[in-house]
């Protein structure tokens, strides 16, 4: 079946982008107006982009996990497409976390890096899912979808254990929630909403690539291209 992008897709995509960009702009504006935290000063405002990005990362990889299972169950390429797309979006969010985190750490604890459980786990996540993309890109054939799905499942399943281990290793729990006055809380919530919608918009955008790739593969099989086998051992 020749995959074509449904017509309503572009409309939905544009609407999502409009909403996402508007909300992100609003959340930035609100962040600039938010009250300045007593101990940390203005730097604390990083939290309004750092925390939503971290949550978006986890959601993105969770979607990859679920979609991977769905692919293995149904062998429908669209699930694998969703898994890979969500994983890529997750990587960008994770990169934001990995950059804004140390910037905050530098101000809060006067050190660029700390083996704080969440940051460390995110580092591990980042490496793992970068590996996902590299492995996926190295495989051309149909096996790539199955292999990617396996990775999507295994990496995610291991996640809680990795997180807990880093927490135990670190010794004490990093103080989790700074006290927030209502204005801060609202700002954070708006930020969450903004980046969730941004995730959806970016995901939809990225999914288009999967459809185009599949369409190309489809037309290739109709008129076979010179065979691109897997790399030989």
């Amino acid at each position: 079946m020749n995959p074509t992008i449904p017509r309503w897709w572009s409309g939905l995509g544009k609407a999502l982008w409009a909403a996402a960009l508007a909300l992100v702009a609003i959340s930035f504006w609100m962040a600039s107006r938010a009250p300045i935290e007593v101990q940390m000063g203005p730097v604390q405002k990083i939290v309004y982009v750092h925390v939503p990005s971290a949550i978006a990362t986890l959601i993105a990889f969770g979607v990859t996990f679920a979609a991977s299972i769905a692919y293995l169950a149904t062998k429908d390429w669209r699930w694998d497409g969703l898994a890979a797309s969500s994983c890529e979006i997750g990587m960008v969010f994770a990169t934001v976390v990995m950059i804004t985190g140390p910037l905050w750490a530098r101000s809060a604890w006067n050190t660029w890096w700390t083996w704080e459980p969440r940051l460390t786990t995110f580092l591990i996540l980042w490496i793992l899912y970068a590996g996902y993309h590299v492995v996926r890109a190295s495989l051309r054939s149909e096996s790539r979808r199955t292999i990617s799905s396996v990775m999507g499942i295994v990496f995610f399943v291991n996640l809680p254990l990795v997180w807990k281990s880093i927490e135990w290793w670190r010794g004490s729990l990093h103080p989790k929630n700074v006290t927030m006055v209502p204005e801060m809380r609202v700002t954070l919530l708006v930020g969450m909403a903004a980046w969730m919608i941004f995730y959806a918009a970016a995901l939809l955008q990225r999914l288009r690539l999967e459809w185009h790739t599949e369409a190309r593969a489809f037309s290739d099989t109709a008129a076979p291209a010179p065979s691109e086998g897997r790399a030989q051992p």
Binding site: F28, A31, G41, P42, V43, Q44, K45, I46, V49, H50, S53, V92, T95, V96, I99, T100, L103, W104, R106, S107, F198, A202, Q205, R206, R208, L209, H212, T213, R216
Partner: protein, 32 residues
């Protein structure tokens, strides 16, 4: 203070780069 600004800038830049790359990839996938 600057670190906060850098953070927001980095976020914006990263997503712009991703966006441009994705649009470029779609164009090259569609172009043939």
């Amino acid at each position: 203070m600057t670190y906060a600004i850098i953070s927001y800038l980095v976020t914006v830049v990263l997503w712009i780069v991703w966006g441009l790359a994705t649009v470029a990839r779609e164009r090259s996938l569609r172009g043939e």
